[in-house]
């Protein structure tokens, strides 16, 4: 029996879809059978982040309404056979699916897969309630900004009220240089306020945009710092003890100054 994990945040644009795509990819890289569900009906995006937008025939609403068999709606990933996606419907509303139907789908999927990861829509309404209906656990994504943290706090309260175990936190888009200057809340500031377990810190990283552009999640890239952070979160989800390290700014202003005056190595022609 697999685990159903919902990725949510309250606020939009903090990285739920990116997180879902990367955790799914990282778990699949570790050999797990993973199914991702895009629960953001009407604002389908997980497919394009994964580069699977041209393969969609059936969607979540088709499965729930019985227009197709479950197997027909599962889209195989390009890189990993053991990663599948159920895309959201683009032309329907959130109320096309009920929490009971969602919980039932998650139950069915967790019989076939090790991990079922649900990408929740932003907000606290029906779409969110659908997304957590089948969840065994919840990951709350936030950025170190006041609006995102406040919304995360609200979501944590709603998850606890739904009698799901306390969610774990992913602190996304942390800019280490800004934190070091005192101009961005640090890991401890956010965990003090939200008082839930932190499962990972993802540094702000331009490779995330590049990865979405290509439809190849950053977790696939060895060089991506954010990708590495996601691979580590995946290991923690699997129960491995990977120490949480606060990201540091790669280079300070002084470092750069010193480097500018250092003699350049000669390149052999």
């Amino acid at each position: 029996m697999g685990r159903c994990i919902t990725v949510t945040s309250g606020k939009g644009g903090v990285g739920k879809t990116t997180t879902t795509a990367n955790l799914g990819m990282a778990l699949a890289m570790n050999g797990k059978n993973v199914c991702l569900i895009d629960a953001d009906i009407g604002l389908r995006n997980l497919d394009i982040v994964l580069g699977l937008e041209n393969r969609i025939v059936y969607d979540l609403v088709d499965v729930v309404e019985g227009n197709c068999r479950l197997k027909q709606a599962l889209i195989r990933d390009k890189h990993f056979q053991n990663l599948s996606l159920i895309p959201a419907a683009q032309t329907r509303d959130k109320d096309a699916v009920s929490p009971e139907q969602m919980a039932d789908l998650c139950r069915r999927l967790s019989q076939q897969f090790d991990f079922v990861i649900v990408d929740s829509p932003a907000g606290i309404e029906q779409g969110f309630r659908n997304a957590i209906a089948g969840a065994d656990e919840v990951l709350v994504v936030t950025t170190p900004e006041v609006s995102a943290v406040r919304d995360a706090d609200r979501i944590i309260g709603l998850v606890e009220a739904a009698e799901i175990p306390p969610p774990r936190l992913i602190l996304n888009r942390l800019n280490p240089a800004l934190v070091q200057k005192g101009e961005m809340m640090a890991m401890e500031d956010v965990t003090d306020i939200l008082a839930i377990e932190l499962i990972g810190i993802v540094p702000e990283d331009s490779t995330i945009v590049m990865a979405s552009n290509r439809g190849e999640p950053a977790a696939l890239s060895e060089a991506s710092k954010a990708g590495k952070a996601y691979r580590e979160i995946a290991k923690r989800l699997q129960g491995e003890d990977v120490p949480l390290v606060m990201p540091v700014a790669s280079e300070s202003f002084l470092d750069r100054m010193f480097r500018a005056f250092r003699p350049r190595p000669r390149v052999a022609s």
Partner: protein
């Protein structure tokens, strides 16, 4: 460089400001508290304490603070010290207004905690 900036800057960093503002607003969110409620609580606490002790109304602070998983009502109420021992002395000290700084008395709602 940061160290120098922090040394010469009297302002709080924006990260600290963010954290403090969040702590206040989340307490209001959690308790679904109307903006005037805190002022009313403060006035009523002051009224009750004033019946028994002479307090320094300027120094009274009442706030709900978030600690770990719970919220606590923390009241910080400075009381004036008696100069003499008898009831008369209290009356005279009231008139004389002792120069000594009032001693704060801290009351914590949930108990157990002391204010740092």
């Amino acid at each position: 460089m940061n160290f120098l900036r922090n040394l010469f800057s009297r302002d709080q960093s924006s990260a600290q400001v963010a954290k403090q503002r969040l702590q206040v607003v989340l307490v209001q969110d959690h308790l679904s508290m109307a903006p005037g409620t805190m002022a009313a609580i403060k006035a009523e606490i002051m009224e009750v304490i004033s019946r028994h002790l002479e307090i320094d109304p300027e120094g009274v602070e009442v706030a709900v603070e978030r600690r770990g998983h719970g919220d606590e009502l923390v009241a910080n109420i400075p009381v004036r010290r008696n100069v003499g021992r008898s009831g008369e002395a209290i009356a005279s000290s009231r008139a004389a207004r002792p120069a000594r700084a009032p001693r704060p008395v801290t009351a914590v709602g949930r108990g157990g905690h002391q204010r740092p």
